[in-house]
Each structure stands twice: as structure tokens, then as C-alpha cells.
């Protein structure tokens, strides 16, 4: 139960002399600090952090946690984010001392268990992708996108080709164009047809000898599988370009079809979406990438290789783009991913995707009678409804619906994305929700659309706060507490 008295900041609870830790006495002979360090380097006082006791700190943060909706407490149909159940066994097994208490520069003979796990993870991700070479290094999906684009750039440089344009369909995640810019490439948008597919004529018109990569999301952000994906990848290849698959939506197609089989040359995974690793309130994630054979030499360094019965990190990769982060990668997340894949096996992963698609279609079938879904009566793992008509008729926006759903005990869908649908509500239920939950959500959503605009404009009514002033926050940013 929420403690409504616990609203102060850490800093407002600080009390001089209060201690949260007691450290052991130093057991080596001590010298005065100013003999060990130049006086100009030493701070006059320790950093002005708050002073709190251990019980203060625990009660404070536990009470904060009760102000969050989470997958463990609520249905969280945030489209594109794949908010599925986070298996508890994976939390336990990834926390074994033999898994977490490892320094990245330990001798490799002392981390053979972890190297084996990582090597097997590379192999498994290659199989699911249908692409033979994998790097586990990128720290998140967007980081994987950038890494893959750097791999593509290195490939073209190696071939002496000056290709630096990335084609991006207008429905793509914002990370796609941002990653292209980070990789030093130029972006050109590709239109979608009214049906939500990549416009092949527009794509063909924009392909030329400057085209490096087409970044495509499939299923796309409308939850639609690009039926002409083979034709799309074919014409990009014919123009000398590469095809990158944004793997954010892999939860729809595992074991059904593989990116490598439909012509993708590079892709990333989001283990924190597809493979059930927790989102952590915004990370940590991971962004492993899989690539075709001809791109393998350019993958980041190191990768794990198997020599006989031994596993080792291979740093001798002369064509590699180098590193995109320090150390090996977000290993803790990869361990959870590994546990997830082993729990399911090949048929189990297909079962996951089938059920994710079933749940989404069931919800779509229930919702589209009262809230238009502009792009068809079928979907893959998610669909995008539009509140445009409600907005016009009753002045009820997608945001109003999102806020009011919180009062009904449901997290809101993703709103106002993709940009190509007006008043978009992007709904992704995932396979770990029951029919009963989907029914309850559909009923709540229906009730919300029937409620008065006045009620909705002030929603939510039951949460600790309601409708924060976002414009004021941005105009006069207060980004830290001051006394």
C-alpha cells in the first residue's frame, strides 16, 4: 500500500551526522593524506551529498517504487517496447556469484563458463536471425543500429565505394535516422503507401550508387509484415546497397521467418524486448547484431571463438570497426537472454511469437469495433489504432485516452507514434497476457471512449499526480534539487 506521507526528496530528509554505512578501520599503516597527494588535488570537504540512515534510504526508495506501474503489477501494452513478463529464474541465475563477480580482465581460463555462454549465445542468435556472424557488444538497440551502420560503412570503404546515404521509411523508429547521423551518414526518407507498406516506387526512385543501406523494420511499426520484403531486399541489393533490419519487432516472427532468409544483411536484437530481460525503468538493455558472412570481418572487437574445448576472446580482427563500448558488453543482460532462449528452445520461441500474434489479433478484433485501426483487420504482434475521429467528434485525443486508462489500472499504449498515423495509439499486448486481461483492457478502452471529454481532459484522477506541466518544465528546466 502506498505511503502518502513519503513525498520528500532524499535531500530534504538529510540530517547532519546521520550515517548509512560503517566501514572497517583501515588495516594498513596510514600516512597523512597530504603526504600522499599534492595539496592542490585534494578537496577541502567531501562532496555535499545528503546524510541519511540505512532505514531512511530503504523506506524512501521502496516507497518510490510503489509510484510506478510495472509489468509485475499491471498490463503494460506499450507498443514497440514488448513489455513481456520478466522470468524470475533469469534474475536469480544471472545473479549467481560465479556469474556477476567477474572482472572483465580476469585471465580467460578463469571465465570459461561465461565465455562458453557468450559463444553459445552468438551461435543461437545467428540461427534465429539466419545470419551467420554475431557481435554481442552493443549496449542497446540504438547502439546496435549505429554499430551495424559503422560495419556497413567499413564494408563499403573496404570495397572503395563511396556510399553514405541511408534510406529510412517514414514509419521508422526515431533511433534509425539518429543512428545514421551518429555513424556519419546522410538520411533520405522513403514514403509509405496508404496501406502502410514501403512505397516501392518511391524506394526505387531513391536508390542509386550513393545508397549504402535501407533500414527497414519488419514487421513494421504499424504491426504489418512487409509482404513484398523479398522484392524490397532484391532491388536494394541490385542497386549495390545493404539491407538493415531493425529487430525491435522480432517477437512477432521467431521461428516463423528469419531476417537472413528474407534478404536482410544486418540486424540488431533487443534482448530486453524479445528475450524477456527486464527494461529496468529504461535500461540496461543490450543490442547484439547479426550480419551476413561478407560483413563478418568488420564486426566489433572482440568476439568469442571456440578453439577445441576452450573459449577465448578474439582481438585479432584487422578489418574490424574497433570498439563501440568498453569491455565485452552488457553481459548481465545477455545472461538473462541466454536463460530465456534455453527455457524455450526452437519450438518454444515459435510458440512465443505465435501467441504474441494471437493476443494482438484478438485485441485488435475487439478494439476495432469502437476505435478505428486504419491499417487493416489483421496484424502481427501489435497494431496502431487512431483516435483521430474521436478527436474531431468529441475532442478526445490519444493522450486523453492514454491518461484515462491509468485510472482503469492499465498502463497506456505508446501514443503519437508512428508519426504516419494521426492520434496514434500503438498497442502491443505480448504473449504473456491472458485472455481475461485482454478482455478487461478492451472493456476499459471502450468505456473510456464513451466517457465525457471533460472527464478525460483532467484524467488521470486516481494517480499520485495528474498532467504535469511539461511545457513549463522545458521552458525553465529544473534538473536538480537545490537548497
Amino acid at each position: 500500500m502506498r505511503n502518502t506521507q513519503a513525498t520528500k526528496l532524499l535531500f530534504e530528509q538529510s540530517k547532519p551526522g546521520c550515517r548509512g554505512v560503517r566501514l572497517p578501520e583501515c588495516d594498513v599503516p596510514e600516512r597523512p593524506i597530504d603526504e600522499l597527494l599534492p595539496s592542490g588535488a585534494i578537496a577541502e570537504a567531501p562532496p555535499p551529498l545528503p546524510e541519511l540512515s540505512e532505514p531512511d534510504v530503504v523506506r524512501h526508495f521502496v516507497n518510490l517504487s510503489t509510484l510506478n506501474m510495472s509489468v509485475d503489477t499491471h498490463f503494460y501494452p506499450l507498443g514497440s517496447c514488448t513489455m513481456k513478463y520478466n522470468p524470475k529464474r533469469n534474475e536469480r541465475l544471472s545473479s549467481l556469484p560465479g556469474m556477476v563477480d567477474l572482472h572483465p580482465y580476469q585471465p580467460q581460463q578463469t571465465v570459461q563458463g561465461t565465455l562458453e555462454l557468450l559463444w553459445r549465445s552468438q551461435e543461437m542468435l545467428a540461427e534465429i536471425a539466419g545470419l551467420p556472424a554475431v557481435s554481442l557488444q552493443p549496449a542497446a538497440g540504438a547502439h546496435g543500429e549505429m554499430t551495424a551502420l559503422l560495419v556497413a560503412a567499413a564494408y563499403f570503404r573496404d570495397r572503395g565505394e563511396k556510399r553514405s546515404v541511408v534510406l529510412i521509411p517514414d514509419g521508422a523508429h526515431g533511433t534509425n535516422p539518429a543512428s545514421a547521423t551518429m555513424a556519419g551518414m546522410k538520411t533520405v526518407p522513403v514514403r509509405s503507401t496508404n496501406d502502410g507498406y514501403v512505397d516501392l516506387d518511391d524506394l526505387a526512385a531513391k536508390l542509386n550508387d550513393r545508397t549504402a543501406v535501407l533500414m527497414i523494420t519488419n514487421p513494421n511499426t504499424l504491426g504489418i509484415f512487409e509482404e513484398k520484403i523479398a522484392e524490397i531486399t532484391q532491388i536494394v541489393h541490385a542497386a549495390g546497397g545493404l539491407v538493415y533490419l531493425d529487430g525491435a519487432n522480432m517477437n512477432a516472427i521467431m521461428g516463423v521467418t528469419r531476417p537472413g532468409d528474407f534478404g536482410a544483411d544486418l540486424m540488431h536484437y533487443n534482448p530486453h524486448k524479445t528475450f524477456g530481460s527486464p527494461h529496468g525503468g529504461g535500461g540496461p538493455g543490450a543490442g547484439p547484431i547479426a550480419v551476413a558472412e561478407h560483413l563478418a570481418p568488420f564486426l566489433p572487437t572482440p568476439i568469442v571463438v571456440k578453439d577445441g574445448d576452450c573459449y577465448r576472446l578474439d582481438y585479432d580482427r584487422p578489418n574490424s570497426i574497433g570498439r563501440v563500448r568498453s569491455f565485452f558488453g552488457t553481459v548481465g543482460v545477455l545472461v538473462r537472454m541466454y536463460c530465456y532462449i534455453l527455457t524455450h528452445g526452437g519450438d518454444g520461441l515459435r510458440h512465443v511469437s505465435e501467441n504474441a500474434v494471437l493476443c494482438a489479433n484478438y485485441l485488435l478484433a475487439r478494439v476495432r469495433h469502437f476505435l478505428p485501426v486504419p491499417h487493416g483487420k489483421r496484424c502481427m504482434h501489435e497494431f496502431v489504432a487512431s483516435a483521430a475521429k474521436l478527436k474531431a467528434d468529441k475532442d478526445i485525443s490519444a493522450m486523453d485516452i492514454a491518461k484515462r486508462l491509468l485510472d482503469h489500472g492499465f498502463h497506456a499504449p505508446t501514443v503519437y507514434f508512428p508519426l504516419i498515423v494521426r492520434e496514434a495509439l500503438m498497442i502491443e499486448p505480448t504473449e504473456t497476457e491472458s485472455k481475461a486481461t485482454l478482455d478487461a483492457f478492451a472493456e476499459a478502452l471502450f468505456r473510456v471512449t464513451e466517457e465525457s471529454a471533460e472527464l478525460l481532459h483532467d484524467a488521470p484522477h486516481t494517480t499520485a499526480v495528474s498532467r504535469p506541466e511539461e511545457v513549463a518544465a522545458a521552458r525553465n528546466p529544473i534538473l536538480r534539487w537545490t537548497p
Binding site: 530503504v58 570498439r323 569491455f327 484478438y362 491509468l406 507514434f417 497476457e433 522545458a474
Partner: protein, 444 residues
Amino acid sequence: MSYIPNTSQDRQTMLEAIGVDSINDLFAMVPDALRLDRSLDLPAAMGEMELSAHMVGLAAQNTPAGRAACFLGGGSYDHFIPAVVDAVASRSEFYSSYTPYQAEAAQGNLQAMFEYQTLITQLTGMDVSNSSLYDGGSAAAEAVMMALGATRRSGRVVTAASVHPEYRQVLDTYLANLDTELVVVGTPDGAVSPEELEAALTDQTACVLIQHPNFFGCLEDVDAIAEITHRAGALMIVSVDPISLGLLKRPGDYGADVVVAEGQSLGTAMSFGGPYLGIMACREKFVRRMPGRLVGQTVDRRGRRCWVLTLQTREQHIRREKATSNICTNQGLIALRAAVYLALMGPEGMRKVAEPCLQKARYAAEQLTAAGSLCRAFNKPTFKEFVVRVEGDVDRLLQSALSEGIFAGVPLRQWYPELADCMLVAVTEKRTKAEIDRLVNVLK
């Protein structure tokens, strides 16, 4: 099958409501020619007991630092983690939530991130902190990208050989397709020479990236570096060890423009390299160029104080190709761990962690070099790490230490051929006198 609550009866009912005969019909959009006509070739599914046994078996093939005495550093450290940090971070309302896009449903995360930002500004003496980046290496690269934009200079970036070699490799990768020259100032004496740094600066230099204490554990002359850097109109980016700030002057107090750090030391396990925490803080005037998420204070419609994601027009989901960075998922839960750690430590606790690091590292260095077979590679003041030069083969020495249950140090040959006979030794507050004496016995 695991984690799927619907029964076959439920599925049947759902298919009927959709109006199809089978789940296969739902995949009609996927052309037959592209369908995988076999099962994925993966190991057979495991139940929880089998999986647990398998994972325990893999873990048994590792030697965790807890079963050895760990003197390894170089950006990842065996510091103590209070139980409170684990207890808070295992609240599933924190770990199973997502990025706080709906502020009303995420006030816990938002307030915790606002507190994290404040704690980092208190620790570093800077005006603003974002709410996390991936790790120390990518944070350094992001800081450089930010400086390129803020100064509108793209000709040159200057760093030093005493900056973590992997951070420099990351930076190299990030700059690969940009027209920016990366100049690395040599540090044969173990730290940046202000004169050589000055000679490397041009009027097109966007920034200087240094590390303090540096990769060799040595302190840099930060006051001189700040003066030279600013005289050239460039920004000073400093990568720090957050634990060192229990004792050392804060970067905000010697003129740093951007501070980055690897935050793993603040309550996160070493985990073979991740997940870690990229800390970034800067001066107020650069806030609109910062990468990553920022949480701001505001009021709600009834005037109650609350928190929201703010200045989002910097970010990829709004600005797309014009965003300050592509970062989306960051390190929320690891930032939470750092906030809990710092709140628990307080000013006194941070000093009480930093002091024994300094004292024990100094004791270890003295004892190791007393016998004469090892010597300090650099004659500079150090904090919790130092480089020793050995007689004979480094690897053989490390191997003999390993057989005594000691991870004695990180060999430097892979990054510094000129230091092929050297290793980097780190001593945290967790190392006891007895462990240090054992290390000395094995190495001398």
C-alpha cells in the same frame, strides 16, 4: 509452455473471435516462400530445474573474484556493494517498468532519476547531469560528439595516451566517418605534459579529453590542463573515477566543462564488463546539447510538485536525424543503484571509501617495490592504482599469482608495447592487509 497463460481452450476462443481457423492463418502476411520450414536449430527447451543446474555448472567454470584476491582495475573495480543496493534494485516495480513516458505512472522512476541527477552534480560539482549513458567508454565518446556541436569546431579532438585505451578505441570508432582528426598526446612519464598538450592544440580543436586519475592511476595536472585548454577555446572533458571524488577536488572546481565517468564502482557488480553506467555531467550552457534523458521538476494541474522527462526536443524520438544522440534505452536501473549507493554513503562514507583505497594502494606499492625486483613505472602521485615494472615475464608472474588464488594485475602489453614488462595493480577498500602481503610474497 512457459510464461504463456492462455490454454488451448482460450486460444480456440480467441481464434473464433478473430474469425480464423488457426494461428497459422494469422501469419498469412508472411509469404510462404519466406517461411522457415523447419524448427529453429536450438538446444531443447529446459525446465527451471534443468536450467538452474546448467547455469550453476557454467558458473562453476568461472573463478569469481570473491574466491580470489582481486587486484584488477583499469575501469572496473571490486568495491563493496551494500545489501541495500541489491534490495532496492530487486523491487520489480523498478526493474520491470519502462522508460517513464507516462509521467503519472512512473513518478517513482522519475523522482529517483531526478535524485540521481542531483547526486551526480553534488559529486562532480557540475551544473547538470543526464540520467545515464551506457558506460564510461561510450560516455566519453558522446561527450566528444557533444563538444563538436557546442564549439562548432570539427577539425581536431585531442586526447592522451593516459586515457583508458578502450575509451580511445571507442572514440576512434565513433569518429571514423567524420572529418575530425583525433590526436593522442604521448604520456611517457605517466601523465600529460602541459607543454606537449599545448603544442597539440589548434584554433580548430573542439575539446581535450583527459582522465583523472588516469589509466595508470596517476593524477593529472588538471589545473594546468584546464587553463591551456580554455586558452585555446576548447572544452575540457574529464573522465573521472567517481570513488576518487571522496578525496579529490571536484571537476567543477577546476574548470571541467563536461565530466564523464564509469559508474560501475557506485554499487554495481563487475559482471565481466556490463551492464555498467555511463555518467555525464556538464555546465548549464551545454544542457541543450546533452545526449540522453533528462528529468525535470514541475507541477501538475493541481499544483503538486512532480517530475517529467524534459527537453525531449534534443532526443531521437522527436528530432530524428537532428537529435543530439541516438540513445533511447539507457541504464536506468544501474543509475538507480548508483543513487542508492550515494544516498547510503553520504559525504562521510564517500571519504571513508576513498581513503583506504589510497592508503592500501600506497602500502601495496611500497611493499611491492621494497624488495627491488619490481619498481614503479611512473614517479607520479596515484590514487588507487599504479603501474609496476617487473623483472622477467609479466605473464609468468601473473600465472604464478593466479595459482596462489590472486588476480595480481592487468598486463599492459596489449595496449602499450613500450610497457610490455608492466602491469596495472588496483587496490580497493575491500583488499585486506593480509591479501596485500600475499600479493607481495608472490610477486617479489
